[in-house]
C-alpha cells in the first residue's frame, strides 16, 4: 500500500518556542511522507486558521499540525473548519510545546524529539481515511421505569425537553415511597404535598403515558432501539419500542422477618419505620393489635443496616425518617413518649435541625441495642441494653418501630442481565464514574436516577432525576443523532467470534450474535459473530487491543496507523540514544503531561510520546513493536485506578498487557523492567515526572536491548 503524503504545519507560538525551526523545516522537507512544510507564528489565530483551511483543502483533508496541546487548539480548529464546511477528521496533532519545547532545556534535544514525534504523526496521517458525519434517526421516546418521585420528576423533565415518555409503575398509584411520608425533612411538607403539583402536571401532559400495575420483564436492543417487554395493567404482555431508558426503580425497605429477635411479623405492634409513616399519613396513630391509642413508642435504628448479614453500610435515611415520624407523633400527641434506640445518629445536611428539635421536644435517645422483645399479658415488652449506663432497661411500649435497612429495588439483578448495566456489591446500580459520569450506567442509553443507585433523600432524588433527563437528552439529541462516526468499526468477515471484545468492552457495545445453523447437530461448530454499532461506541480501543483477528479497529487509529507511527517516532533510537517510548491516554495522562509542560517542569528529552484515546487501546503487540523499532523502555501512562474515563476498565486492560509483556520479555532473555505502567492524576504532575524519570533511568541502566545488540531473534543459536 502506497502511503499518502501530508503537509506539515509548524507553529512557533509567536516565536516563543526554543526549537530549531530551520532544522525541523529542513529535515521534514526531506522526509518521505511530507508533502510540504509551513512555519507559522500563530496557528490558533485567524490567519493561522485560514492557513489550515487551505492546507487541508489542498491535500485531500490531510494535515499534520505541530503546535501546542491538541486539548487547546483542536476544538477551535474543528469548529472553524466545520463552519467553513471542511472535514477536519484527518488532521493530526503533535504537541511540540507542552511535551517538548517547554520541558527540555537543550534546544537540540527538544528539536530532535519534536522531529521524531512529527515524523510519527506524518506516518500515521499517511494511512488515514476520511470519515464523515453520520446521522441516525431514532424515535424521540424514553421509557421511565418506576413512578416514584425520581421517575415522576425525570418524566416531567424529559417531556419538557420534547420527548415522549412512557412511565411504567408497578403499583396502582404513582408516588412511590414519598406518597406515604407524613413529613419530608427539612421542608416540613407532607409527601402528598410534595407530589401533588407534579402529579397534576403528569395528568395534564400529553407527552407522558402512564402505565400502572405493570411489571417489566426484560429488555432487548441498544440505545435508539430498545424494546421493553412488560406485563401491562390488564395482564397482557406487551412490547414497547423506545430509544432510552431511565431506571428509577427506587429502593425497597427491608422487612426484618428473618431477624426473629424483633418479633416483626409475629407481633402486630412491631412495625417498620415506613409502615409507621404509612399509618401516620393515612390516618390516626393506633395500636394495630387492638386499635387502642398509642402512648409509648420505641424506635430501633439500624435494623439490618450496618450488619454483615443484611446490609453492610449505613442506610443514610433511617435516622432522619425516624426523627420525622417521632416529631409528627409528638405534634399530634404531645403526651406521647418516644424513645429512639440508636447506635449513632446520622442526620446529614440541614436535617441536623430536626435532630436538635427532637431533643428539645423530649424524644428520648438511648444509645445501645435491643436485647429482647417478647409479649406478656397482651403487652409488648422490650429489653434494651443502654451501653452508656451499662444497664438493661425494660419498657412496655404500645408500638415498636424498626428503622429497617434500605435495600436495592427488587428485580434489579434480573433486569441487569438483559439491560447490561453493572451492579455494585451492595446490589445498587453502579454508575459509570462517580465523579464525572454519575447517573450513566455501563450501558449506553440507560441511566439510573434516585434511590436505585444509593439511598437518597427526596430532594436528592429530584436533582438526580433532572440531571438524568439532561444526560439522556445529550445522548438522544431529540431523536436526530448526528455525529462523526468516530469509533470501532467491525469487519464481520474477519471476526472469528471469540467474544473477547464483548467480554471486555467497558460499555458493553459489542453484541455476540449466534450464527450456528443447526445447534442441535452435535458435529456443527457453535459460531458467533460480533456486532458493533459505531455510533454507540466510546472509541476507547479495548476491543481492538484484544481482537486476535484485527476485525475491530478504531477508524481513526488502525493497527497499521499506530505501528507506522511507532516506527516513525522511534527513528534514530538505538544503543547510543536510548529512548523511552510512552503511550499515554488522552484523558488523565495527557492532562497531567500538559500541566507538567505548562508549569515548565523539566525531564529528560530522550522520550517519545504517542497519544491513544484510552490506555486500553495499547495491545501487547504495540508494546513489542516499540522494542522492535529500537525503544529501550516502553511505558503506558493512564488514568488512576478506578478512574478510567472510558467506563472503568481501559486502564486495567492496559495493565494486563503490560504485565504479560513484562513476564514474556523476562522469559525470552530481555529485562522485564523495560516495560511498565504508571497511573496519573492531573492534580499531581509530579507523578508523571517520577514515572518518566524512572523509565529513562531504566533505559540507561539496562543498556542496549537485544535489538540493539543484534541478538534478537537469534534464540536458536543462543540456546544451542
Amino acid at each position: 500500500m502506497s502511503e499518502n503524503r501530508s503537509p506539515v504545519l509548524l507553529c512557533t507560538c509567536g516565536d516563543t518556542l526554543s526549537l530549531d525551526y530551520e532544522l525541523l523545516n529542513k529535515e521534514l522537507s526531506q522526509y518521505e511522507g511530507v508533502k510540504s512544510v509551513t512555519v507559522h507564528g500563530t496557528v490558533c489565530q485567524r490567519e493561522g486558521l485560514e492557513a489550515i483551511k487551505h492546507l487541508v483543502q489542498e491535500n485531500d483533508g490531510r494535515l499534520v499540525i505541530a503546535a501546542c496541546t491538541s486539548q487547546k487548539i483542536q476544538m477551535r480548529i474543528d469548529n472553524f473548519l466545520k463552519e467553513e464546511g471542511v472535514d477536519s477528521s484527518q488532521v493530526q496533532y503533535v504537541n511540540i510545546r507542552e511535551h517538548s519545547a517547554w520541558v527540555h532545556d537543550d534546544v537540540g534535544d527538544a528539536t530532535e524529539k519534536s522531529l521524531a514525534m512529527i515524523k510519527g504523526a506524518v506516518r500515521l496521517a499517511s494511512l488515514s481515511e476520511p470519515f464523515l458525519d453520520e446521522t441516525k434517526e431514532i424515535a424521540s421516546h424514553v421509557t421511565v421505569v418506576g413512578g416514584g418521585i425520581a421517575g415522576i420528576e425525570s418524566a416531567l423533565s424529559l417531556s419538557n425537553l420534547g420527548y415522549h415518555v412512557t412511565l411504567l409503575e408497578k403499583e396502582d398509584e404513582l408516588g412511590g415511597h414519598v406518597k406515604h411520608l407524613p413529613v419530608v425533612a427539612p421542608t416540613g411538607k407532607s409527601g402528598k404535598e410534595v407530589l401533588s403539583g407534579r402529579l397534576e402536571s403528569i395528568d395534564r401532559d400529553d407527552n407522558i403515558e402512564v402505565h400502572k400495575n405493570t411489571t417489566v420483564r426484560f429488555f432487548d436492543g441498544e440505545m435508539g432501539n430498545f424494546t421493553v417487554h412488560f406485563v401491562d395493567t390488564d395482564g397482557t404482555e406487551k412490547d414497547l419500542e423506545t430509544s432510552g431508558i431511565v431506571l428509577a426503580n427506587g429502593f425497597s425497605e427491608f422487612k426484618p422477618t428473618a431477624m426473629e429477635e424483633y418479633r416483626y411479623g409475629r407481633n402486630p405492634d412491631v412495625l417498620t419505620q415506613f409502615e409507621l409513616s404509612c399509618m401516620l399519613s393515612d390516618g390516626e396513630l393506633h395500636r394495630p393489635s387492638d386499635d387502642e391509642p398509642v402512648k409509648e413508642i420505641i424506635m430501633v435504628q439500624c435494623v439490618g443496616s450496618r450488619s454483615e448479614d443484611y446490609k453492610r453500610d449505613c442506610s443514610k435515611l433511617c435516622c432522619t425518617f425516624a426523627i420525622d415520624n417521632a416529631l409528627e407523633v409528638l405534634k399530634r400527641h404531645p403526651e406521647a413518649r418516644v424513645r429512639i434506640v440508636y447506635m449513632d445518629i446520622r442526620v446529614p445536611f440541614e436535617n441536623e435541625m430536626i435532630y436538635k428539635e427532637s431533643r428539645e421536644k423530649g424524644v428520648d435517645y438511648i444509645r445501645g441495642r435491643v436485647s429482647r422483645v417478647w409479649e406478656e399479658n397482651g403487652e409488648t415488652h422490650v429489653k434494651v441494653y443502654d451501653s452508656l449506663l451499662d444497664k438493661y432497661l425494660e419498657f412496655a411500649p404500645d408500638l415498636l418501630v424498626l428503622s429497617s435497612a434500605i435495600l436495592p429495588a427488587e428485580g434489579l439483578n434480573e433486569l441487569s442481565e438483559t439491560l447490561g448495566f453493572d451492579i455494585e456489591d451492595d446490589g445498587h446500580v453502579k454508575e459509570l464514574y462517580g465523579k464525572l459520569r454519575r447517573l450513566e450506567t455501563r450501558r449506553r442509553g440507560v441511566i439510573a436516577v434516585g434511590g436505585v443507585t444509593r439511598p437518597q433523600f427526596v430532594f436528592e432524588a429530584v436533582t438526580d432525576a433532572q440531571a438524568g433527563a439532561l444526560v439522556i437528552h445529550n445522548e438522544l439529541q431529540e431523536g436526530q443523532i448526528e455525529k462523526l462516526a468516530r469509533g470501532a468499526v467491525l469487519n464481520v468477515e474477519d471476526c472469528v467470534g471469540c467474544s473477547l471484545c464483548a467480554q471486555q468492552c467497558p460499555r458493553g457495545v459489542p453484541l455476540m450474535i449466534e450464527e450456528t445453523e443447526n445447534p442441535e447437530d452435535e458435529d456443527e461448530k457453535l459460531e458467533f459473530k460480533a456486532a458493533i454499532d459505531t455510533l454507540n461506541c466510546h472509541a476507547c480501543g479495548v476491543c481492538q487491543s484484544l481482537c486476535p483477528s484485527a476485525a475491530t479497529q478504531l477508524n481513526f487509529l488502525t493497527n497499521e496507523q499506530l505501528w507506522a507511527q511507532i516506527e516513525g517516532t522511534l527513528e534514530g533510537a538505538g544503543p547510543d540514544n536510548p529512548i523511552t517510548l510512552c503511550f499515554h491516554c488522552e484523558e488523565c495522562a495527557v492532562s497531567t503531561m500538559d500541566i507538567v509542560g505548562t508549569r515548565k517542569m523539566k525531564y529528560p528529552a530522550n522520550t517519545r510520546f504517542i497519544p491513544v484515546p484510552c490506555a486500553g487501546r495499547v495491545s501487547i503487540i504495540d508494546i513489542l513493536k516499540g522494542f522492535e523499532h529500537g525503544a529501550s523502555t516502553v511505558m503506558i501512562a493512564s488514568c488512576e485506578t478506578d478512574r478510567c474515563h472510558m467506563g472503568g476498565t481501559g486502564n486495567e486492560i492496559a495493565q494486563a498487557q503490560i504485565d504479560v509483556a513484562r513476564d514474556i520479555l523476562s522469559a525470552i532473555g530481555w529485562k522485564g523492567e523495560r516495560v511498565d505502567m504508571f497511573r496519573m492524576y492531573s492534580a499531581e504532575p509530579d507523578r508523571f515526572i517520577t514515572a518518566i524519570q524512572e523509565m529513562v533511568k531504566r533505559a540507561k541502566e539496562l543498556g542496549p536491548t537485544p535489538v540493539h545488540q543484534g541478538t534478537a531473534g537469534k534464540w536458536m543459536e543462543v540456546s544451542r
Partner: protein
Amino acid sequence: MTEPAAAGREMAPKRRRMMDMIMVLGGLKEESAIPLSRVNEELELLKEQVAPLTEEIFAFPMKYFDEFLEAVEKASLLEGVSDRGILKEAIDNLEEAVEKGDIESLQGLLDLLRTRLDSLTKKPGQEDEGEEVDLKEVLAPLPALVDQISVIIGKYEENAAEDAKTAEQDLKDLQQGMEEGKDLLKEDPDEALARLQKLGTKTRYGNFLRTAAQVKRAKREERVDEERFDYLLRHNIMVELYRGVVYFVLTHMGSKTVVELADLTGIEADVLQRSIVSMIQRADIEMVGLDENAPVFARVFDTVPETTMVMKRTVQQLRAVSRSVEGKNRELIASSLQQLEESLERLQKLGQYDETELAEVLGQTREIADNATEGILTKSSDAEAEDLRLLVSAGLEAFARFRLKIALEKGPNLVEGTNVYGEKLDPKKYEQIMDSYLNNELERGTMLILIRDLGAMSAETLAEKTGIPQDRVFRHLLRMKRDELLTLAGEEHGYVLYDVPRTPTKAEVTVRTASDQAALLVTAKNEIETILQDLKPEDIGNLANSLETFSKARDKMEKIEIGGTVVAESLLDTVEDKVKSAVVMAYRTRAKIPSTRPKVTIEDLLDVDVPSVLEEYRSQMGYAPILGFGTVKWEQSKCLGCKSCEIACPEDAITLKPVIDVPSFFEFSDEALEKLPVNRGLFYRTVRGLASQKPTEKVVLNEDKPGFGTVEVDLWLCVACRTCVRRCPGPDDGALELELKWSLPEVVKQIKAGVL
C-alpha cells in the same frame, strides 16, 4: 422438585451414558447381578482371611498398656500431670474402658490416676484438722482494737492539723511573694521571674522549677523574644506556680477539696480547677475521697505507708470472712468492718503519717483476720474452704488491679473535668460505678481462678460454686470470652464448658492420648468380636470402621513417647502390617458386595445435578469415582485465550488458567501460525523475533489476563458434552478435541482392587 412428569421426559443420551457409568462405579447397578450365594462366599472369604490376624490384633491393646503402665511407673510420669480437668477426663475414659473390657493394666493405670487426682485435691493445711478454732474467741478482741486504731488515727489528724497551722505562716509568705512577683511582672519581668523562682524552691514542685529554668534559659539564649517571654511568664509559669502552691498545701496541710484550696491559697477556684487537671494527669495528686459532693485531693506519695496497705488487705479479708459466718460473729465483724472502712478512708486522706504507732495495733487486727479466715477454712467442708480461699485471693488480686486501673487513670478526670459532651460525672455516681466495677472484677477474678484450678466449667456449675446469680455469671463469661481470657471447651449435659487457654504438658498429652485410645480400642474390639460371630453383609461397613479404629490408634500410639523412647515400639511395628491388611481386606469386600446400598434406577437420576452429587459422594466415601468418559485435548497453537470454552461449559469443568506456556511459542510450525487469526500469529512471530533466548519455564500470572492462559479440564467434572469443542473459535476445528474413552471395566477393576 416433585414433578410427576419424569417418565415423560427424555434423558439426553450423553447424560444417560454418564449416569449409567455412575451407577456402575458406585456399585449400584451390579446389585441384582450378584447372587446371594456369591455374597456369602465373599463374606466367608473375608472371615477366613481375617481370622489369623484377629488374635494378634485383639491382643495388642493389652500388651501395649502393660508396657505403657510399666513405663509410666518407671518414669513417674504422673508427677508432670497437674491439670485436674485432663485427669478427670482420662479417668472417665479409663473407667469406661475397664468396664467394657478386661484389661488388667488399665485398671492399674486408673488407680494411679485416681491417686494422683486425690493428692492434687488434698489441701495443704488439712493435717491439723482436729484443731477447730473457736471463732468467737478469735474475734473477741476485734472491737477494742478497732477503737484503738480509730483513736490513733485521731491523734494523727491532730498532728496533721498542727502541722498545717505551722504551714499556714509559710503559705502566707508564699502568697505575699506571689503577689509581689505579679506586681513586678510589668516593670521588670526578669526580676519577677527570679523572685518567683525563689518561691518555687519553697513549694518543692519540680515542674515549676523546670519550666521556670527552661524559660529563663530560652530568654538568655534569645530563643524567645520579649513578647513571647512575657506571655510565657504570665501564663505557663504562673499556672505552674499555682500548682506548686497547691502541692505545698496538700503536702503540709493534708488533703483538701478545691474550694478549701481556693480559700487557703487565695487563687480563684476555677483557675485552680483547671490547674489541677494536669496535676492529676501527671500523677502529682490523686482523688482520695469525697467531702459531701466535692472530691478530696491528696498528694500522691511515692510510697504509701505500709500500714495503709495492711489496713486495706485486712478490710478485704474481713469482708470475705463476714460472708461465711453467721449470727453474733457476723454482727461483730460487720460493725468493726464499718469502723475500719472509715478509718481506712481517713488514713488515705492523711496520706503520709508516722506509721510506727499504728503498726502494732494493726498487726494484731490483721492476726485476728488471718485466724478467723483460717478458722473458717478448717471448719467448712473441703470444697467450701477451697472456694473461700479462692474468693479471698481473687478479691485481693482484683482489688490491686482495680486500684491501678481506675484510681490513676480515668476516674478523677471524669469527676474533675467534663467529657466531650460537656457533661460532668456526679461523684456519687462515680463511686457507684467504682463499686460495681470492683464487684464485677472480683466476681470475674473468682471465676477465672476457679476455672484455672478445677478445669473447664459450665455457667451453671460456676453459679453454684460462686453463689453469683447465673445470668451474671453468664455475662461475665461472655465478657471474658470476648477478652480472650476464656475459650470454649466442648459441652457437658448440653451446657457449654468454658476453660482458660491451657497448654498441656507433655505428660498430660500422653495421659490424655493413651486414655482416649484405650476407650476407643475396647469399644472397637467388642464390636469386631460381635460382628465376626455372625458376619452379615450390612455389617461390613462397621467392621471396616472398627478395624480402622485399631489402625488409627496404632498410628497415634507410635507418637507416644515416655522418657524419650516410644512405648512398646517393637509391638507396634509387628502389629502394623496385620492391622492394615485387615482394614484393606474389609474395605475390599465392602466394595465387592454392594447390598447395603439403595436400589437406584437410571430414571431416578434424571434430575441429578452432577457436580453436587460428586461433591456429596466424595465427602461420604472419601474418594470420587471417575466421571468423565473422555479426555479433552487442548492445542495451544490454536488457542486464542478467549475463555469462550469456560463460559460455554455447562459443568464448569473447563477453565482458562493464568499460565502462559511461553516455551511452546517457539515450537509452533509456520503452518500453524499462518492459520491463526492475523494478530495472534503476528504476536507469536513478534515474540520469536525479539527473543534472544528460548525460554524453558512457563509464565505463571497472578490473575486472569484476557487473551492469555492455559486451558485445563477437570475430568472429574467433564461430562463430555462437546460444548467447548463446538464453541472454540480457534482455527480449523478449534483448539479443543474430545477423545472418548470407553475402558470402563478397567476403571471398575481398579476400584474393586482398592486402588481408588
